[in-house]
Symmetry: C2
Subunit: 234 residues, 2 copies
DNA sequence: GTTAACAGTTAACGGTGTTCACTCAAATCT
DNA sequence: AGATTTGAGTGAACACCGTTAACTGTTAAC
């Protein structure tokens, strides 16, 4: 580790920290090259020694945010050691709290990710890999819940043969769960994502000014479906 | 109607059409003042005779897209006159098809709408009003379904007293449906929105490369909960 | 027929991401 | 140790962005 490499690593971290600060305070649009450079006492072209483009900087920031969110949720779930149901409940609420506290970051991570059809070239992007690590969190937890106490799942007629085939192909990533159980776990994630998206993006205001009670009811409902004894809303 | 007013209306329509074209081809970022102006053989400052700002132009475009989507869904549902369940099914599938065919427009309408907390000033924006007209579509249909054949809804213990109070306050907008029924209708909309968001934003690729079968299964499941006889997936 | 209103232009300001030529210090090689 | 290469950083510039101001014609109104 040269003295130059140390300096490089330090400024790189400072750049990402500054970008993060700007994102939190002013949204995605606030992450300008000159603004970031100003925060670390540099000029804009100097950042091209660290990132090939503005987009690459934002992508790296996305990856860091994913990892930060993942570790935050992991240690949040660690508080309820053993009770996997409570862990999933904490995870869901933790994700919602994080999204509401950091709407700009949430929009950057989970919103408007226009996926270019050519999947090959950007599947190895740091953001994608961090997203996979985040997704694995839910995958592993759902699989653990299933293997601890298998929950009833919809009969095959509800899913359809095509979906069953698709889910069976993914069974290796879910530790050999049956397709119906994978379906229910996926349903949990889908509904959770949809609820948080609607709330963060303000798509729920026209019917519910405050979505906390609705969120809890939904969580309770889907938790019941998975055989968990979630705390009932009051 | 002066000759000047005619010209004004014509160019205004041309501006919005050009903006729409740019949105479709290149996403939201492609709607630049100079780009729009170039499309209608004008210079950028000329557009300020028609819109006070770039944002106002985009907002108007959002309103137009909402109305276009609303009418498209209305006439799509009109094909199944009488059968309200089939109408809801067509609406859901129509919305998904539209979103997948026009991802940029969908992202503009339903994604990343950062809602400023000061709700007073922009509640009368044309985009908001058009969004209300769109939302009314689902509201009315759910209410009609309920009044035609009331469906069973979750007991009060599942919802919690606070949510029941909130939903009761909104009952006037749902033609006097009980809170539990409103909850189920809202659940339909929430799950539909979440599913489409996930699919359009590419948030489902890491587990399902093609989400059509999953979408159908989800639609069938929630349709069953509302007492509808949707076509079962195969 | 004069006057006021208005669509549209050009020029400019501050901002953006990005590239190029350049300087200077640090690491490497002889 | 001295020469040489690597690389971080700068300043100027390019093409773009949204926006404003001053200005030119044409059209409507009195």
């Amino acid at each position: 580790m040269n003295r130059r490499d140390e300096a490089r690593a330090a400024t790189l971290a400072a750049i990402l920290a500054a970008a993060r600060r700007l994102l939190v305070s002013g949204g995605v649009a606030a992450i300008g090259l000159r603004a970031v450079a100003r925060e670390v006492n540099l000029t804009a072209p100097a950042l091209y020694r660290y990132f090939p483009s503005h987009e690459a900087l934002v992508t790296q920031l996305v990856a860091d945010l994913y990892d930060e969110l993942t570790t935050a949720l992991v240690e949040l779930g660690g508080e309820s050691e053993g009770d996997l149901g409570a862990q999933l409940y904490l995870l869901a609420n933790g994700l919602r709290d994080w999204a509401l506290a950091h709407p700009a970051e949430f929009a950057l991570l989970f919103g408007t990710t226009v996926p270019s059809p050519d999947a090959e070239d950007h599947n190895d992007t740091p953001g994608h890999q961090a997203a996979m690590r985040f997704g694995a969190l839910f995958k592993e937890l759902v699989a653990a819940i299933w293997h601890e106490k298998p929950f009833p799942y919809p009969p095959d007629e509800v899913l359809g043969s095509q979906l069953i085939a698709q889910l069976s192909a993914e069974a290796v990533h879910f530790h050999g769960m049956p397709p119906g159980a994978i379906y229910l776990g996926l349903t949990y994630w889908t509904r959770l994502y949809g609820l948080i998206c609607m709330e963060v993006f303000g798509q729920l205001h026209w019917v519910l000014p405050e979505a906390g009670a609705y969120f809890e009811a939904q969580l309770y409902e889907i938790g019941l479906a998975m055989g968990l004894d979630c705390p009932a809303p009051e």
